[in-house]
Amino acid sequence: MAEDLNWAIGGEAGDGIDSTGKIFAQALSRAGRHVFTSKDFASRIRGGYTAYKIRTSVDQVQSVVDRLDILVALTQRTIDENLDELHDGSAVIYDGERSWDAEVPDDITAVDVPLKSIAEDAGGAIMRNIVALGAACEITNFDVEYLDESLEKRFGGKGSKIVENNKKAARLGQEYVQENYDFTDLEYDLETTDNDYVLLNGDEAIGMGALAAGCRFYAGYPITPATNVMEYLTGRIEEYGGHVVQAEDELSAINMALGGARAGARSMTATSGPGIDLMTETFGLIATSETPLVIVDVMRSGPSTGMPTKQEQGDLNMTLYGGHGEIPRFVVAPTTIAECFWKTVEAFNYAEQYQTPVYVVSDLALAVTEQTFPPEAFDMDEVEIDRGKLVEQDEVDQWLDDEGRFRAHAVTDDGVSPRAIPGTIDGAHMSTGLEHDELGRRTEEEGERVEQVDKRNRKVETAKEQEEWNYREFGDSDSDNLVISWGSNEGALVEALEYLEEDGIDVRVISVPYIFPRPDLTEEVEAADEAIVVECNATGQFADVIEHDTLTRLKRINKYTGVRFKADELATEITDKLTEEVPAQ
């Protein structure tokens, strides 16, 4: 793998850290370099350390590492927080004119740039972060012109004067370093390529997937880290003939999405843990009324308000089992940002083909990370829309009973009934959360009850047979060492394989994007000498499920600090686990 560079800017929340980081990430992407970003942040808007980190390489990068090469530090705390990651080849850019006395460890190159004064020369102190970007360009031998397009994109709306000032600020920063420093011992040289990449985060990929899949109605209530799905769709869905609403709460949001779906629009809602709790109330109605609906849960650390800006995969049981009674449902969990797009597209098709709720379970690590992909990773020609047994006007007759009534919950071989949208002639029927007969009328008659429960569950059986519930595989497929993961850990695991290989350890990685229905891993587990399940929670919710499926005790690697797995850290943990005693059977 080509050499990577790890860059970060950190300061107080409210210092514009995020937008500055994004400008640099975009510039790198435009220069044909891959990027993978991450954020350290506190949930307060102002006051509290926050950082935007970029890992960049000419090869695809898909995880974070414990190494920082260039750090733009707007506060002393930024340096202190990252001491472990800085090394003797690192450079720290800071503003020595500011009141704090920067304490940069001796072995690290301290690059004192009067960011504020230079920004003022360019037209305003507000541009000090951009001056720092210019300085970083000089240290990394990265042409400052690559920043121009990103600056135009970011500030274009504010007028050409602002854009020009920012370009100037970047150049002044670059020149200052060029004139005052001579880095003989720093050898950073950012290679560029002619490749075109798209840069996006997991929430945006979900929003984009929804639009491509024909989602035309979205109802939501803001919550970190799912809000970006809604913000992505707002202002964009209208161009495709759709609408977004902000509901008064999540109870309303999911019921609105349900209403939109009833009226025939492909509909979706997205939330995080606290919102999923409220929405669970409606899961059963979605299933019994057999209405197609996509519900996105972008997981964050819980329980309760937990750590709202921290990573966790704690909602598996909630989405898999949440709700009273027995609710047929599908649960898919994208493993990468590109997969956030594809799994959302799939979710819309499953929802309509099987007329069930479908959960797309993503997580904070996917949601806040911006990553580059070749545009082919989102090939719109591959997007297919299957509306299942939605009946058009000329098909209604086939589904009427002897008295001309529409059989909305007709008992069929595959369990899927016809669906008539309000406004269809002869399709009028009622649906209810009460147990009902084929016509949708409430019943407590034993035979009909059993028939309807079986019919709804049969849809899942049909799906199990008709669809491919496969997994993604990496590493050595013949290895005796098996590592199983779900959700966003895939990237770190794939990179961990390189570290393990260096140590002569071969591993087979199975990354599972389907939680229910899911692939049966019995053979894979039996074929392995050691099997470990990796996940970001304390109790091993996915490990429990796989143990249950395979009737085998598995080893577990759990992380619940609120921080995602890093590749090097995972490699060490896997190595340790492989030699640990197997838990009692």
Partner: protein, 311 residues
């Protein structure tokens, strides 16, 4: 091809079309006020020219929620308190539909109260009928948010200490643009009010007094009733917020003393509905959101544009 052929279909409508073949006879208790709502809907819908197939009735949970079983339209019996978000979204997705939400006083003013406030505030173009029997009927007679002060029930054997919610006033402050109260015992007025509410462009709220002879004998039958428009004792302008507010307040006060005032309380034909406002802004397309799926020319490739933003 569209799926919505029933919409705008100008055909003759037979009143009996709304009576389902199965279970034509409702299972409400004899003398229940809920029959009155059913009857007024069966009369008003053909009168305003909306067929069963272009009408969607979303109900909550309660005795009142059984309405769908006895009214043959597209029906969605949702969950306790949630009929409003479902209904208003269906209307947003396809405003060619006639969308009516209905449910009990517990359902709409208690567990679903937040949705009531916000649906009214946003002035969604739909009708909301609250079957107000001042009691939880289905669960056998517990206190509801509209039960009068002192009302005794199994959950409040000493009588409720608190004054009831003011449904009309709450509706007005929240932003509803058509507000009326009628009673099951006054079928002619009820039919007229329901028809007006359906035809109103905006959020029309009808507080429908439905006696529950089984669990709320105190409320008697809501007789004698007075129509505030017909009576010479009352004179106010339904388009004047201030006067309407005063009249509502009085109506709510005297109900607990046994005087049943009914009629139209507030009518605002000026304020645009949510969907009208959004359409004017270009935020909601003119055709139903689901319509384009049936358009053979729908260009899904347009999604290619989506990537441009991320380069």
């Amino acid at each position: 091809m569209s799926a919505f052929n029933a919409i705008g279909d100008e055909r003759e409508i037979d009143r009996e079309e709304y009576t389902p073949g199965v279970e034509p006879q409702p299972t409400w208790c004899p003398g229940c006020g809920d029959f009155g709502v059913l009857k007024s809907l069966k009369q008003a819908l053909p009168e305003v020219g909306r067929t069963p197939e272009e009408t969607l009735v979303c109900t909550g949970i309660g005795c009142s929620g059984k309405l769908n079983s006895y009214l043959d339209t597209y029906g969605f019996h949702t969950i306790h308190g949630r009929s409003l978000p479902v209904a208003r979204a269906a209307k947003l997705a396809n405003d060619g539909l006639e969308v009516i939400a209905a449910g009990g006083d517990g359902d709409g003013y208690g567990i679903g109260g937040n949705h009531f406030i916000h649906t009214a505030r946003e002035n969604h173009d739909m009708t909301y009928i609250v079957f107000n029997n001042e009691i939880f009927g289905l669960t056998k007679g517990q206190t509801s948010p509209t039960s009068p002060k002192g009302h005794k029930s199994k959950t409040q054997p000493g009588g409720t200490a608190k004054t009831p919610i003011r449904p009309l006033s709450m509706s007005l402050t929240s932003g509803a643009t058509y507000i009326a109260r009628t009673a099951a015992v006054n079928p002619n007025q009820a039919k007229e009010i329901i028809a007006e509410a359906i035809e109103h462009d905006g959020f029309a709220h009808v507080d429908f007094l439905t006696q529950c002879p089984t669990w709320n004998k105190d409320a008697r039958q809501y007789v004698p009733y007075i129509d505030v428009q017909e009576s010479d004792d009352y004179d106010f302008d339904v388009t004047d917020r201030g006067e309407a507010a005063q009249m509502m307040h009085e109506t709510e006060d005297v109900l607990n003393e046994g005087t049943v005032l009914t009629g139209r309380y507030y009518v605002d034909d000026e304020s645009p509905s949510y969907q009208q406002e959004k359409k004017d802004l270009g935020r909601v397309p003119q055709e139903p959101l689901a319509e384009r799926y049936f358009d053979d020319d729908a260009e899904w490739e347009r999604s290619y544009d989506l990537l441009e933003r991320h380069t």
